[in-house]
């Protein structure tokens, strides 16, 4: 999994839900979905569902709770993709 490419894909997924454009413009692995991007908890569910659809994976409650920032999202996506293969 290419890191830069995945960050770019995640940016496209979260874009419709962000409330803080400045934080989005300088998004890194450490960017927090709720505290930095100001995505509300209801919209975070849509982010997760969009990630499931994009990567054809199923995210459970436990993984959902860990998915607080870009880095955690990437590691969960990577783990779920490797489970599939």
């Amino acid at each position: 999994m290419n890191k830069e490419q995945t960050i770019e894909e995640l940016k496209n997924i979260v874009k419709p839900y962000i409330q803080n454009q400045e934080a989005f413009d300088v998004l890194t692995e450490d960017t927090d979905f709720i505290n930095d991007l100001k995505i509300n908890s209801a919209n975070l569910v849509d982010v997760i569902l969009d990630i499931e659809e994009k990567y054809d994976i199923v995210i459970d409650n436990e993984a959902m709770e860990r998915m607080v920032n870009v880095k955690a999202a990437m590691s969960i996506i990577e783990a779920k993709l490797s489970e599939k293969n």
Binding site: N40, S41, A42, N43, V45, D46, I48, L49, N61, M64
Partner: protein, 145 residues
């Protein structure tokens, strides 16, 4: 859970209870009715000498029947003080006016219920069976443990 059980578990009372009857409910959706009493307070001011049901009230009727009743059915539990429910988004188009004494039917189909978020496609029909409102509504059911 019977339809009556669901009605008894609704966290509303007059003058803000907007569900009369559940016609049908299963894990994929719900259908219910409400009749607008002509003595409801908001008709005195919306509009002056020309009572029409406000869009926010139509939205509330759609949310109470289409989202909250279905949510109670899906979690199969009473909404107690450890459970918080909240409306998170609405996107409704209003097609026909709804007047005092009209009986409306709300038909809601579940789009998804994941991670505590319930999102539904909801239609309100008037007594003639015409679509009065249509759109999507979402809310959260969260346990405060």
């Amino acid at each position: 859970m019977t339809n009556q059980d669901i009605l008894s578990k609704l966290p509303y009372s007059k003058p803000f209870l907007f569900v009369d009857e559940i016609l049908q409910i299963d894990e994929n959706g719900v259908e219910g009715t409400y009749t607008f009493d002509e003595n409801l307070d908001f008709y005195k001011g919306h509009f002056k000498d020309n009572p029409v049901t406000p869009g926010v009230i139509l939205t509330e009727v759609m949310a109470q029947i289409g989202l909250v009743c279905l949510g109670i059915f899906l979690v199969n539990d009473v909404l107690n003080k450890n459970t918080a429910i909240a409306l998170s988004s609405t996107d409704i188009e209003f097609l026909k006016p709804v007047f005092p004494n009209e009986k409306v039917t709300v038909i809601s189909k579940k789009l998804y219920f994941r991670f505590g978020k319930l999102k539904c496609k909801v239609i309100m029909k008037n007594e003639k069976g015409e679509e009065a409102c249509t759109g999507t509504i979402a809310g959260m059911i969260v346990s405060r443990s």
